[in-house]
């Protein structure tokens, strides 16, 4: 479980997060939704310690993460997997070496074990026979999938995905969404996903946090979201004509 309490962050005097609090349960997919520029990425980077928060507290299970220094955070690092919005694959390494990278750094597995693990993870994201391609030879969606494979390779306890399916076709999106949900439940991971894709919200959201105007605007489950009369949330989720009609006719 990850708990955030009142976290605030500003850049050069511009407040991006104004005291956001929430809890993210283990074994569940926790979604953070919000418009472009609403601060989802900043929130996620604060949670993993890539951006230092100004005030507030971040707890991983029962340990206060935000008080630790770089050295003390190190044991956590090996339990955190993160998929960056742009993939962030290492340009100089091929697909196999990218996924193997965290294993090389921190495990004493033999090369065969590592390769098996890599192939297992790549197969999970529907990538076969691409081991020797470099990131520049991959399509945007393939990069995302390799990034997911790299994040799950070391068996993380906490998984952070920043828009894992933006730029993917609807079919692959759903495959990725379900993959995230499956591994979350199978390995009992605490998963947090940033998204603005309504399909994902309906497909895998166990719990949803809506960030708007730099604060927590709304929070609830998938059942709640269909019943809510929160105007901004409804405007956001049911933005398209299709979605509006679906909501009106009560098909979901």
């Amino acid at each position: 479980m990850i708990e955030i309490k009142d976290i605030a962050k500003s850049f050069n005097g511009r407040q991006i997060l104004k005291g956001v609090s929430s809890t993210f349960e283990t074994g569940h997919v926790n979604l953070v939704i919000g418009g472009s520029g609403s601060g989802k990425t900043v929130l996620m980077k604060c949670m993993v310690g890539l951006v230092e928060i100004d005030t507030g507290e971040i707890k991983y299970d029962d340990k206060i993460f935000s008080n630790l220094d770089r050295k003390e955070r190190k044991p956590f690092r090996q339990e955190i997997g993160m998929v960056f919005q742009g993939g962030a694959l290492f340009d100089s390494l091929n697909v196999e070496k990218n996924v193997m990278f965290p294993l090389n750094m921190f495990t004493s597995m033999s090369f065969e074990e590592k390769r098996d693990r890599v192939n297992f993870c790549l197969k999970h994201v529907n990538l076969v026979n691409v081991n020797h391609l470099t990131p520049s030879e991959l399509s945007g969606g393939m990069k995302k999938r390799v990034a997911i494979a790299r994040a799950i390779a070391p068996n993380p306890k906490y998984l952070f995905c920043d828009e894992p399916n933006s730029g993917l076709d609807p079919q692959t999106s759903i495959v990725i969404d379900n993959l995230i949900k499956d591994i979350t439940e199978e390995f009992n991971i605490t998963t947090i996903v940033n998204t603005h894709d309504m399909n994902s919200v309906l497909e895998i959201g166990d719990k949803i946090l809506f960030v708007h105007k730099w604060e927590k605007w709304w929070e609830g489950t998938i059942e709640d979201i269909l019943k809510t009369d929160n105007k901004e949330l409804n405007d956001f989720i049911f933005a398209s004509k299709l979605a509006k009609n679906i909501k009106k006719t009560g098909l979901i």
Partner: protein, 246 residues
């Protein structure tokens, strides 16, 4: 100029580099890659500039030697000493600052803006140490060899040009380059080279590592890397010469 800000941030950047390597084998692999990159990769440009530099120095020295009382072998002495003391270590370092400094800054800068540096950090890897240490060590190890080669090629270039132009005889030149040779000059040149290697790699890495934004900023960092390493090379060239040779 906000040079105090940069000095402070450079200092913090350098302090973060001093760590126990996560896994030695990984660093060794990086080191081999950089050695190859910096050494083998810069031989071509170094050879070309050194030969022409030696040639120009020799011809200009002859041109300036109008006193018939000075033997022509002095051309060899002047060419040798200026190549060893100044041209090879300093000019080659300036050339390498352009070639290697800009590539370090743009490589690390690109990794920074595409979040690859964040990806390293998230895995618990000290990104600055992982990316920069192998480069510093590789440059400090390989640059002295590159400069030695440059000295040899410079003196050779001077000989070829002098003889081809018919301004100095082969015998005079060779006598000159052997005359009153001070081995310490080579040691001094290598001390300079190692200092410059440190300047080029750390200053360029510093600029790359603090890139924020996108492709445009990567380009700017790479320019700053070359400009500031070059300026610092010239300042330290002067300081070291003052300190050691006087």
């Amino acid at each position: 100029m906000n040079w105090l800000f940069h000095l402070g941030r450079y200092w913090i950047f350098m302090k973060d580099l001093i760590i126990k390597p996560e896994k030695f084998s990984i660093y060794r692999k990086q080191l081999t890659r950089e050695l190859d990159n910096f050494g083998y990769g810069s031989l071509g440009i170094v050879a070309l500039t050194s030969v022409f530099m030696g040639a120009v120095i020799t011809i200009q020295t002859v041109y300036n030697l109008v006193n018939p009382l000075v033997p022509l072998s002095a051309v060899g002495i002047v060419a040798r000493d200026s190549i060893i003391l100044e041209f090879s270590p300093t000019m080659m370092s300036l050339v390498l600052a352009g070639k290697i400094g800009s590539s370090i800054a743009s490589e690390i800068g690109t990794m920074k803006v595409t979040e690859q540096v964040d990806a390293l950090e998230i895995m618990g890897i000290n990104s600055s140490a992982y990316l920069v240490l192998p480069k510093i060590v590789a440059a400090m190890v390989i640059f002295p060899f590159v400069v030695l080669i440059s000295m040899f090629l410079g003196i050779l270039g001077g000989w070829i040009a002098g003889v081809l132009a018919g301004v100095v005889s082969s015998a005079d030149y060779i006598k000159g380059i052997q005359d009153s040779f001070v081995p310490f000059n080579i040691v001094f040149a290598l001390i300079k080279t190692i200092t410059f290697a440190f300047i080029i790699t750390t200053v360029s890495a510093y600029h790359g590592y603090h890139t924020e934004g996108g492709a445009l900023e990567v380009g700017k960092s790479s320019t700053s890397a070359v400009v500031y390493s070059s300026i610092l090379i010239l300042i330290f060239d002067y300081l070291l010469t003052q300190l050691i040779l006087t």
